[in-house]
């Protein structure tokens, strides 16, 4: 089987998975939760106003399929006049309804929140990735040397500091005491530098350790000796021969973390007042804002499914030894 056919097959495979995710979301958020009318209308709502709200929002319909609808309409279309089919139909048109709290369309809230989230997480991801790769390559070159030992020690040290510790220390010293960075708000690049820094440094230890292990594994390989024996420069051996092989295990681990960039960083956004999706999500959780939560989970799951496939494809693309079948 060729790569193209394999890619198409893997992508088609996402359709049933996505459908399953949607059904699961319905069961979790709608079927189990029941009608949110009381939450939306407040404690003073009368039984009539609740019934009216339910009817208006379709919560009076049967859950999965509608036999009455079938009899009424005398066609199969009537069968789908139930909560689940309507929910699936809305989701597949990216219609996530209106927030119970802000009364804004949820789709717009997500679009507005995604920019701050990505402007926070994407630079952290890229800078952290490049820095870790560079440091790990350096370790591979000087394995068992002083530099390597220092890097391993620092990585473990960095890993053992809790995330909150980075935030508190960063905000207190770099932000408050020395006044280098603002610590609250989302007004420009200057407001993002400190959270970027914290995000990169806090993730560095774990990444460097993992990448270093992968690189040390590869640097002992025979083909590295062959590359040196051909007369390649050290730089070429590392950046071409070593990295290209090390990228196979590294990418499979890294690509799958990309969907999480969209949810932003819960802690960083809360502590720095960045109005991203992490912030919005926490707020929705506190207020029971069901449409916002289910939309966040839905988009997150879609991205996860998609990047899972991309990981597989990248893996196969990079490692030609894998047989497709």
């Amino acid at each position: 089987m060729g790569f193209g056919a394999y890619a198409v097959r893997r992508l088609l495979y996402t359709i049933p998975v996505t459908l399953g995710v949607m059904v699961l979301l319905f069961l979790l958020f709608e079927a189990i939760g029941g009608s949110p009318a009381r939450l939306v209308l407040g404690k003073s709502a009368t039984a009539e106003s609740i019934a009216e709200w339910d009817a208006h929002n379709g919560y009076d319909l049967p859950l999965l399929i509608s036999w009455e609808g079938l009899l009424r309409e005398r066609s199969l279309v009537g069968l789908f006049d139930a909560q689940l089919p309507r929910y699936l139909w809305r989701l597949s048109r990216w219609d996530f309804g209106t927030s119970y709290v802000t009364n804004q369309p949820v789709r717009r809230m997500i679009f507005e929140g995604i920019i701050p989230s990505l402007s926070l997480t994407v630079p952290i991801f890229i800078a952290g990735f490049l820095a870790s790769i560079g440091i790990a390559l350096m370790c591979a070159l000087h394995r068992k040397g002083h530099l390597d030992r220092i890097v391993v020690f620092l990585s473990v040290a960095l890993m053992s500091i809790p995330y909150l510790g980075y935030i508190l220390v960063g905000q207190f010293w770099l932000g408050y005491a020395w006044g280098w960075f603002p610590i609250w708000g989302y007004e420009g690049i200057s407001h993002l530098v400190l959270p970027w820094l914290i995000g990169v440094v806090s993730g560095l230890g774990g990444n460097v350790r993992f990448y270093r292990t992968v690189m040390l594994d590869q640097v002992r390989a025979d083909f590295i000796r062959t590359a040196f024996a051909k007369g390649c420069t050290t730089r070429r051996v590392l950046w071409v021969h070593l990295l290209r092989n090390a990228m196979i295990p590294i990418l499979t681990q890294v690509v799958i973390t990309i969907p999480f960039l969209y949810t932003g960083s819960l802690l960083l956004e809360s502590f720095f007042g960045i109005p991203g999706l992490g912030y919005i999500g926490v707020h929705a959780l506190h207020t029971g804002d069901r449409p916002v939560l289910s939309a966040l989970v839905f988009v997150g799951s879609l991205l996860f499914v998609l990047f899972n496939v991309l990981t597989d494809l990248a893996y196969v693309w990079m490692d030609r030894r894998i047989r497709l079948g």
Binding site: T226, K230, N245
Partner: protein
């Protein structure tokens, strides 16, 4: 002597000493090895596993990782230039250009993620001024030279798509990319099927003749030596114990260790049960006996053998033995 001196010396290793830093201190893997290879000559380096053949061979182009290794003495002259004194830029223009290597496991010596044509192409670009289409044409020529059928298709394949024999041919093509003066083949057939081994050997021999290269061939296999080599050096525990022209050595070995090696080759018509092996094992590098390193396993060893290490003696022109009792070896 006369035959040798008429030819130019390509490689001259003198008193090479290589140490490894290990947990139990420094270990001397190569201890005072001297070798020379003349123009278009094939020298076979034989000996049991771990005796220092690869370290010696890799030292020529300084390919033993430093650390843990360190060259602590000697000189390696390649066409009159000491490679041990070269800086990294000089080493790069030596590696793959003047001295090229073919390794034991072609399957892992080739980079799994690049097409074989590109890997050969890289070797060409590194040392020659060819670019673009000329590189591709040269890759094709090299693949044909090493006898790979349908080279146009093969060059676009990845190493795992080729058989072991074809992979080794690719390695050889890569080694020939810039017409090296010296080809170092470190057990080039050990990892291959028996039927393929003979093909690869005769290919190496044929190429060596046609291109006029000198060759250092490392092997455990004295059968291979008989077929290919002009001269043989036998290593034991980091030292040369015997060196001789190939026919002379095979006909009449002078060191007890060489005798043992010859006796352990299966011969046609003799059952495997008649095969003798050398008793005991190579001394651990950390626990070298004070005298002759082979004495603990030697059938003709005397008391004095355990006290002082004998020197490598020239017993006739072109023949050296590190055993004062070589006359008793038969």
């Amino acid at each position: 002597m006369g035959r040798e001196s008429s030819k130019q010396t390509i490689l001259e290793i003198r008193d090479l000493e290589v140490q490894f830093a290990t947990e139990d201190g420094a270990v001397r893997a190569v201890d005072g090895v001297s070798l020379s290879i003349g123009e278009a000559e094939t020298l076979a380096l034989v000996g049991e596993s771990g005796c220092g053949k690869s370290v010696t061979a890799l030292s020529i182009a300084r390919l033993v990782p430093e650390p843990p290794s360190r060259v602590t003495g000697g000189s390696i002259m390649l066409e009159g230039v000491n490679t041990l004194a070269m800086n990294s830029r000089e080493l790069r223009s030596l590696r793959g250009a003047k001295v090229a290597y073919v390794f034991q496991e072609p399957g892992s010596a080739l980079n799994p993620v690049f097409r074989v044509g590109d890997q050969i192409g890289e070797a060409i670009r590194l040392h020659r001024d060819l670019r673009g289409g000329a590189v591709a044409a040269e890759v094709l020529r090299l693949l044909k030279l090493v006898g790979i059928p349908a080279p146009e298709a093969r060059m676009r394949e990845y190493p795992h798509q080729l058989s072991g024999g074809m992979q080794q041919r690719v390695m050889i093509a890569m080694a020939l990319a810039s017409r090296p003066r010296l080809l170092v083949a470190d057990e080039p057939t050990t990892a291959l099927d028996v039927t393929i081994q003979a093909q690869i050997l005769s290919l190496l021999l044929d190429l060596k003749e046609r291109l006029g290269m000198a060759m250092l061939l490392i092997t455990h296999n004295l059968g291979v030596v008989a077929q290919v080599a002009d001269r043989v050096a036998v290593m034991y525990a980091g030292r040369i114990v015997e060196e001789a022209p190939v026919e002379a050595l095979l006909r009449l070995p002078r060191h007890p260790y060489t005798r043992g090696l010859l006796d352990s080759i299966p011969k046609l018509g003799l059952g495997a049960e008649r095969l003798s092996t050398i008793g005991g094992s190579v001394p651990h590098p950390g626990e070298m006996p004070p005298g002759c390193k082979f004495a603990p396993r030697c059938s003709i060893a005397r008391a004095e053998c355990h006290l002082a290490e004998p020197a490598l003696e020239e017993i006739e022109p072109g023949r050296k033995v590190r055993c004062p009792f070589w006359k008793s070896v038969s």
